[in-house]
């Protein structure tokens, strides 16, 4: 069954169109087979790049005012920092209470750091800020005590009252407070 060269040449000469078409077909089929995965690979690459491009564009579009908002937030947080106590400046923090006493006319029966942040103990941190616990017992007339309480709650520093007991005897009011002041470690 072997085909010798002469027979082959004769065959080619006899059917040139058939042979040429056959060769072209074989070459094309080989090309199609070899490059059959290329289309899928290119499509996947395009999809990935399109998704990536869309994500980047969306990031930019969604952050249109991010810089301004961040600047505002930094400014606001700096303002809050100025209204927070330093945890280690225990003596300086007490000055705040004594200033309130002088300004409102109440008298302290008791003023000390609370059990949660007694000297030597580190207050439990909640991240950036920490609550500084104080026990405050003041006495004065109703107006003085209310003024003191208002200054404490709505003053410069952030204050959180955990519990309070107000008792009145005659014109004198005694207010016992357990409070947290916003502090920074």
């Amino acid at each position: 069954m072997s085909i010798d060269k002469r027979t082959l040449v004769t065959g080619i000469k006899k059917y040139p169109l058939l042979v040429a078409s056959g060769i072209v077909s074989v070459l094309l089929l080989t090309t199609l087979y070899v490059r059959s995965d290329l289309s899928d690979i290119k499509q996947a690459e395009l999809d990935q790049l399109t998704a990536e491009g869309n994500r980047y564009r969306a990031n930019i579009a969604n952050s249109a005012q991010l810089k301004e908002q961040l600047d505002f937030l930094i400014q606001a947080n700096n303002a809050v920092k100025e209204r927070a106590f330093k945890a280690e400046s225990m003596a300086l923090n007490l000055q705040y209470f004594y200033r309130l006493e002088a300004e409102t006319g109440v008298k302290y029966l008791d003023l000390r750091p609370g059990s949660r942040n007694e000297p030597g103990k580190t207050p439990k941190s909640t991240g950036t800020y920490i609550p500084l616990n104080y026990v405050v017992n003041v006495q004065g007339d109703f107006t003085q005590v209310i003024t003191f309480l208002k200054r404490l709650e709505q003053g410069v520093y952030f204050c959180q009252i955990n519990s309070a007991q107000a008792t009145g005897v005659g014109s004198s009011v005694t207010l016992n407070l357990n409070l947290d002041l916003l502090g920074m470690p």
Partner: protein, 214 residues
């Protein structure tokens, strides 16, 4: 019909005798005498297949080229937007850090049920003339009001109930408290006044609704 009228011949028929010589014709070398030659069909089919393959391959290659062009365009978009996006992501991380501080502050402030000074003033404003408060005990879950009522004991006890009803119906208190109950009422043997205790239980989700800003 004429064949039936013919007289049958006595000679033996010669047409039915097989050929006596061999057939020397070489059919492979003889020319194709069909109206349309077979080679035409074979060549035509081969050319058709080849042409179809050329067209299909060309179509696929064109598609690939088009995909490549789209990929290049997408790559350009990525290259153009990536630095800006990276910058914005870095800004957003910074924003999240700053946002955390706000959330901590919000958490610190939101645990407050009331602005106590405003609350005491509201309690004071709600008191009837004959009712005196001796103490206000504020805790995160409840407020206890202890006071006394002057006047005849039978009227005084009715006044205590009326005061509790008034507190229940008062909008700021009803919004803030789940229950307002008269927990104790008794006559003070020393002064003869009626002493009472009112228990105000905060709602689970009550926030600092009672006036004031921080």
């Amino acid at each position: 019909m004429l064949s039936f009228l013919k007289k049958p011949s006595d000679k033996t028929p010669t047409g039915t005798v097989p050929a006596w010589h061999p057939n020397f014709r070489n059919f492979e070398r003889l020319p194709d005498t069909k109206a349309v030659r077979t080679t035409f069909f074979i060549n035509g089919l081969a050319v058709l297949i080849a042409s179809s393959l050329i067209i299909y391959t060309g179509y696929r290659e064109f598609g690939l080229r088009s995909l490549q062009a789209d990929t290049d365009a997408a790559q350009k978009v990525v290259n153009a937007n990536k630095p800006g996006s990276d910058q914005m992501i870095a800004l957003f991380k910074q924003f999240q850090e700053e946002e955390k501080k706000v959330f901590v502050l919000q958490s610190f402030l939101s645990s407050s049920r009331v602005v106590l000074s405003d609350f005491i003033l509201q309690i004071g404003a709600s008191l009837p003339a004959s009712v005196t408060l001796n103490s206000i005990d504020y805790k995160s879950s409840a407020v206890m009001l202890v006071g006394s009522i002057s006047g005849a004991p039978d009227e005084a006890s009715g006044l205590a109930m009326t005061y509790v009803d008034r507190l229940r119906k008062s909008e700021p208190f009803s919004q803030l408290f789940e229950t307002i109950t008269l927990s104790n009422i008794a006559r003070d043997p020393g002064t003869g006044q009626i002493r009472f205790a009112i228990d105000l239980r905060f709602k689970a989700s009550a926030k600092a609704a009672t006036g004031g800003t921080k």
